[in-house]
């Protein structure tokens, strides 16, 4: 069995969304689209519950990067519990992010870290319609030092509609939250 694995990560935050290995040419060049298609299907994110079962996201391949690492049997079965740190090493996520519902407006979504951050922390979100996963938008932001959250501008949401938000805050656990546009 190969001793290498390819992690599929979100470029902005390093969160691992999937893993693939190849017995033949395990370190050969791959592009994100080779293992994601145009969009990577991401489902069953966060903690088990009603939302966990239904929320699914199609993450555009150009938001992704690939990292070849030594095979680690601890990472493969629970890959989404890991994130690449600044040294590109896969480490377990810690801390719970939050997305308050309802958001402040139809044009902003708030993302909070578990506490005030000590370094500038990247934030990546994907917002998908609860009824149409192809109705989606990806937005990015950063939580400034000594702040615990950031308001991210989004394309106008349909007032009263339900959306699923996949929120990735640097180093934190992956989060799925449903929000209703005010």
């Amino acid at each position: 069995m190969t001793d290498k694995m390819t992690l599929i990560v979100v470029k902005k935050t390093g969160h691992v969304l999937g893993v693939v290995t190849r017995e033949s040419d395990p370190e050969g060049k791959l592009e994100p689209a080779d293992v994601a298609g145009e969009k990577l299907l991401v489902r069953f994110v966060g903690s088990p519950g009603p939302l966990f079962e239904v929320a699914r996201f199609l993450v555009p391949a150009d938001e992704l990067a690939l990292e070849v690492k030594d095979f680690d049997p601890m990472i493969v079965p629970r890959a989404r519990d890991f994130v690449l740190n600044a040294d590109k090493q896969a480490v377990a996520t810690s801390g719970t992010a939050a997305v308050p519902d309802p958001p402040p407006s139809i044009m902003q979504v708030t993302v909070n870290a578990s506490a005030a951050v000590t370094v500038k922390t990247p934030v990546w979100i994907q917002i998908s319609s609860s009824t149409d996963p192809t109705d989606t938008q990806v937005r990015q932001g950063e939580i400034d030092v000594n702040e615990s959250g950031v308001d991210i501008d989004v394309l106008p949401l349909n007032s009263g509609s339900l959306y699923y938000v996949l929120a990735l805050v640097g180093g934190h656990d992956q989060l799925v939250q449903d929000i209703t546009a005010p």
Partner: protein, 388 residues
């Protein structure tokens, strides 16, 4: 329409006029020009390299750096078949450039430097036919001119109008043929050159070449290389009669001998110490295997492109099975016993894995939790042989 080529002939007792002698010269010039035009491609034959020398200029107490740009001696053949010879190095003239009014404010803009062949009459001879006759020059100097154009005005250099089939090289008047030597940068504030380049936007110096449908060696060995002189470390191809015939590609060593990285022998053997990569070949089965998590598109084997597995092309065979080894049960409730049950392990038409495991809590009142799974996969791509 092109005129027929007329060769001067003479007869005993003929009184020769200047035109008869001139026609003799023009006949040879025309023949040389047609040879250059139709058996060669136009461009730089040798030399004509741009070089720079750093200089400083002081204006109102402020020092500015600039460059003196020169062209080295050399020769080019233009598209009329005319030889253009620069007999000695020539510094590019800032005043000539300035007078052309091609400058723009962008200091990084690259201006084409162009060589043109021009005839110039030599000084008149001291000899005359009589006191009333005006002395005439007895030589035409095959001179040259260096000119410039504005940035980007080099796109038409490959589309210059060729002369008629029987024409000679001309005298450089009319539509002059432009030979690109490189590009210069210009500072319009100090009216000086600030540097040069040999390529701009993928367009660069063009070298003279050969038009040939048959190239034959006389000594049993033919070499094709990328430099005029044999230089160590530069690539070359050799076709010779070693072992009954051999084609070798590699880099030249200091002795001018190719160190082959690819050899094709007369018996069909192909020898290389490197790897051979190619697009998928017909009549072949490619295999890839490994493991993948839910949502991932299974990667194709190396050498197989997505178009190879399009409908009516290659055949894709996929086998996936849920990987139970190392599965991690739900964390809550802590200490509970769980049993995994595969409920989904498949691959869709896009090779996307859908793998889901249902965890059943072993308790009096069982609860269920569905989690994403991991699958082992084997993927085979069959590329049919040509013709089926």
């Amino acid at each position: 329409m092109s005129d027929p080529v007329a060769r001067p002939v003479f007869f005993e007792g003929q009184i020769l006029g200047a035109l008869d002698l001139q026609d003799s010269v023009e006949y040879s010039r025309g023949r040389d020009a047609r040879h250059s035009r139709y058996l060669h491609t136009w461009g730089i034959a040798t030399g004509l390299e741009l070089s720079e020398k750093g200089k400083q200029l002081e204006i109102s107490g402020t020092t500015f750096d600039y460059k003196e740009i020169s062209v080295s001696p050399g020769m080019a053949i233009d598209g009329r078949g005319r030889e253009i010879i620069v007999p000695e190095g020539r510094r590019l003239s800032e005043s000539d450039f300035d007078q052309l009014n091609v400058a723009v404010q962008d200091k990084e803009a690259l201006y084409p430097v162009l060589l043109i062949g021009r005839d110039r009459s030599a000084p008149a001879s001291n000899f005359s036919m009589g006191d009333c006759a005006t002395p005439e020059p007895t030589r035409q100097v095959e001179d040259f001119e260096i000119t410039f154009r504005g940035p980007g005005e080099d796109l038409d250099l490959l589309d210059q109008t060729p002369p008629d089939i029987s024409d000679g090289p001309g005298n450089g008047t009319g539509n002059a043929w432009l030979v690109l030597l490189g590009y210069v940068k210009w500072d319009n504030n100090i009216k000086k050159f600030t540097g040069f380049d040999v390529v701009s936007g993928g367009i660069g110096r063009r070298y003279a070449g050969v038009l040939a449908d048959e190239v034959a060696a006389r000594g049993g060995s033919l070499q094709l290389r990328t430099r005029t002189k044999s230089e160590s470390g530069k690539p070359a191809i050799v076709l010779d009669e070693t072992d009954g015939g051999e084609l070798r590609f590699g880099l030249l060593n200091a002795a001018g001998i190719v160190t082959p990285v690819l050899t094709v022998k007369a018996n069909g053997d192909i020898i290389t110490p490197g790897t051979v990569q190619s697009k998928s070949s017909s009549g072949t089965v490619y295999v890839q295997s490994g493991l993948a998590t839910d949502g991932v598109v299974l990667p194709l084997p190396t050498g197989v492109k997505p178009e190879d597995v399009a409908p009516d092309k290659g055949t894709l065979h996929v086998q996936v099975s849920m990987r139970l080894e190392g599965l991690v049960p739900p964390a809550n409730p802590a200490g509970a016993d769980w049993a995994p049950v595969p409920i989904e392990c498949s691959v869709d038409a896009d090779r996307r894995v859908r793998c889901q495991v249902r965890w059943v809590q072993i308790a009096a009142a069982p609860t269920f939790v569905d989690l994403p799974g991991v699958c082992d996969y084997v993927l085979l791509v069959g590329i049919p042989a040509t013709g089926g």
